[in-house]
Symmetry: C2
Subunit: 155 residues, 2 copies
């Protein structure tokens, strides 16, 4: 879409609903790379560079980048602490898979924030934190059919 057509856009037309990348600000890039790539067994793309690790996470790119640099890139202060008010979820096909993931996560020395358990909405889920406290939920939601790529297609 060029600038001319942009001028004719209606509200909400240009911004399609998708997320290309999720970037986690980290305090020690090598520690985070080890956690995700050696601990969890994910693969750093060859597009990664000295200062940034890119991981193909299904149809989304997961980026690991210095927390300070991420704040600088966004032109905001890096000051901040406590709950981030944002979580990432990794859905699996059964309760047993949730438990199996938690076995892996424990081996990777993640912080177990909430042991997997039955939850009020009828699923089974737990939370772990990465080395910087970024929260991941691992969930079985029996109401959401899961694609092979870990994606859900909502009605």
């Amino acid at each position: 879409m060029g600038l001319d057509s942009a001028a004719d856009d209606k509200e909400g037309d240009a911004l399609k609903p998708y997320i290309t990348m999720v970037t986690l600000g980290v305090t020690d890039l090598e520690r985070s790379r080890k956690f995700y790539c050696e601990g969890l067994g994910w693969t750093a793309s060859s597009a990664s560079q000295e200062a940034v690790v890119f991981i193909q996470a299904g149809r989304v790119v997961l980026g690991l980048f210095s927390r300070e640099s991420l704040a600088e890139d966004a032109d905001v202060s890096a000051e901040g602490s406590g709950f981030r008010g944002i979580t990432l979820a990794h859905n699996v096909g059964s309760r047993e898979e949730v438990d199996a993931v938690f076995d892996d996560v424990r081996r990777a020395r993640a912080t177990i924030v909430k042991e997997p358990q039955e939850v009020f909405w009828g699923g089974y889920s737990g939370y772990f934190a990465d080395p910087d406290g970024h929260l991941w939920e691992v969930a079985h939601n029996p109401f959401w059919p899961l694609g092979d790529d870990g994606s859900v297609t909502l009605p």
Copy 2:
């Protein structure tokens, strides 16, 4: 995968690299629904409920949920402020599209955090914040071919 096979798992085997959902904790669910669905023109799934809005964002589900409830779900304190150390990126196919998205975002009364500009890595990007300060980067990365669904496939 059942419990028996889980017992034989090697490290990192059970946790496949993908993100099913990104959940944003929000202080006013209706304000956030309006921002994303009326302002940006995205569609709330019929799977949404009174206390949660689900939006199909490409192959990821974007969830909007009370910040307090999200903290409670993760069994952590909701205390926290400042930079969250995590950003979401929305890549588009050209600089002109970045500008067009920013026109939309301005109309949706988002906070413009960083006007679109050339960035050191050879792309063109800017940042806006949603009503709760969650940071979205809108970027053109000429080195990353973009799929129709807004996804990138890394080498």
